[in-house]
């Protein structure tokens, strides 16, 4: 087997599990051979028996020796706390304030919107492509990267095509392509388009667990 350093970047992407179809034929053969060898090696690894579980659990159950500081002991030892009944509603009100503020606290520091799909579990690789023969740079910016036009540059392909594969959370995303760092254009292959509120048009995709179909 040849050392992994002889693989090109496409081969590394292949081994990382990104979509197929982008490898040179010789890289494809080598990558397939390496993947098959890895699977065969994994199949030969012994499966740990129940005795391993028992040994781990026995080690976990061993209690650490008591080395508690006096302050810690004061905190954890049970004791009787006397409180006047009049303070009960006050404490309850304090707890209510804490619980009321907690869920309402928005997190403007977060780079993305709250997840649209509450059941979202997966990240799905989505490939963005654009034919822009005259462009010097092409990037994709959208709700998934806080609309940063420099964050996701597309790679130039043959025939004036540009592409990038991006892991996106399941759910809806709006985006546009940014040409030469300043010209925002919608994706002609997007599932749909929507008014962006600024006089432009955002491309819209809804990423499902099986991916996303455009054209």
């Amino acid at each position: 087997m040849r050392p992994h350093d002889e693989f090109g970047p496409d081969a590394h992407r292949y081994l990382d599990g990104e979509p197929h179809g982008e490898l040179r034929p010789d890289d494809q053969v080598r990558a397939d051979r390496l993947a098959a060898a890895l699977r065969a090696y994994c199949a030969r690894l012994p499966v740990p028996g129940a005795e391993v579980d028992d040994a781990v659990m026995a080690a976990v159950r061993v209690r650490s020796p008591e080395r508690r500081a006096p302050g810690w002991r004061w905190l954890v030892e049970p004791r009787v706390v006397r409180i006047r009944p009049v303070w009960v509603p006050v404490l309850a009100a304090a707890a209510a304030v804490v619980f009321w503020l907690g869920p309402r606290a928005w997190t403007p520091g977060a780079p993305e919107r709250p997840p649209i799909a509450a059941a979202a579990r997966d990240t799905v690789y989505v490939r963005f492509e654009l034919v822009a023969a005259g462009a010097r740079t092409v990037a994709v910016a959208g709700s998934f990267n806080d609309w940063r036009p420099e964050a996701l540059p597309l790679a130039r392909r043959e025939g004036g095509a540009w592409s990038i594969t991006v892991p996106l959370p399941i759910g809806e995303h709006e985006y546009q392509f940014v040409l030469d760092g300043e010209r925002w254009v919608p994706d002609p292959t997007a599932q749909a388009h929507a008014d962006d509120g600024f006089g432009g048009t955002n491309s819209v995709i809804v990423v499902g667990p099986k991916g996303v179909v455009r054209s």
């Binding site: 982008e22 993947a35 928005w106 809806e172 099986k210 179909v213």
Partner: protein
């Protein structure tokens, strides 16, 4: 006891204004970090604070302002768009509330606002709210209806498809696949009416997507470029082998 009493009173007095001030400070920090000028930061912060006071998702307003500024939209237009968006968030919240969900989660309010912005009426938003069997399906249902409407199905048909899918007990994962299903049908040359009919009859993902309900990659649909977009899924916590599972 006296110490506890004092701490409690201090916490009660300080909690609310301090929390709001901290939130506004975070909004400012985020907007300034993206290079918005001071007057625009001030205007957006005020809109966001007003929205938050009404129980609306202020983070969505900040996102909208950042989007506009990133697109180099002039500041007055950013402010106008942000105010308009805040108003639509309020309409979305009201539409959901009118259907019986008094305190909707932020994601639901945002999804309802998007749906309204794409031509779905408040009453139709209510239909989706009432059809959602589980709370977790509500925001995805609204998102999918909005996407289908934007795909050209029209608001009424899009809502009909989603409501039908919800009543049939389709899980959220399948709901989120509906826009891709519709897109595939469009690529096969079907018109909106035909797509709506098929999807209402249950021609959902399992019936039309290559690979079926449990599958991933399948035969390439007509017109699909090489490397079918998005059909490689990354499982959390580990990498998928190149040859598939």
């Amino acid at each position: 006891m006296r110490t506890i009493r004092g701490l409690l009173m201090a916490a009660l007095c300080a909690a609310t204004p301090a929390g709001l001030a901290a939130q506004q400070a975070e909004v400012r920090t985020r907007l300034e970090a993206r290079g918005l000028p001071a007057d625009l930061v001030q205007s957006v912060t005020e809109v966001a604070a007003a929205a938050d006071a009404q129980g609306l998702p202020a983070v969505a307003i900040v996102d909208k302002a950042i989007e506009g500024w990133a697109k180099r939209v002039p500041a007055p237009r950013v402010v106008a768009a942000v105010r308009q968006y805040a108003a639509r968030l309020g309409e979305g919240r009201d539409a959901v509330g009118a259907a019986g969900l008094a305190r909707p989660p932020e994601a639901v309010v945002i999804a309802a606002a998007e749906a309204l912005g794409r031509g779905i009426g408040a009453e139709q938003v209510g239909q989706i709210v009432r059809a959602a069997g589980e709370p977790a399906a509500l925001a995805p249902g609204l998102v999918v209806a909005a996407a289908l409407a934007a795909q050209g199905l029209g608001g009424e048909r899009a809502v009909g498809v989603v409501v039908e899918a919800m009543r049939a007990g389709r899980p959220v994962d399948e709901l989120l696949d509906l826009p891709s299903v519709a897109r595939e049908m469009q690529l096969r040359g079907m018109n909106a009416a035909e797509i709506g009919r098929r999807m209402m009859r249950g021609g959902g993902p399992g019936a039309t997507r290559p690979g079926g309900a449990a599958g991933g990659a399948g035969p390439r649909p007509p017109g699909m470029p090489g490397g079918l977009p998005g059909q490689g899924t990354k499982q959390p916590g580990g990498r998928r082998p190149p040859g598939g599972a």
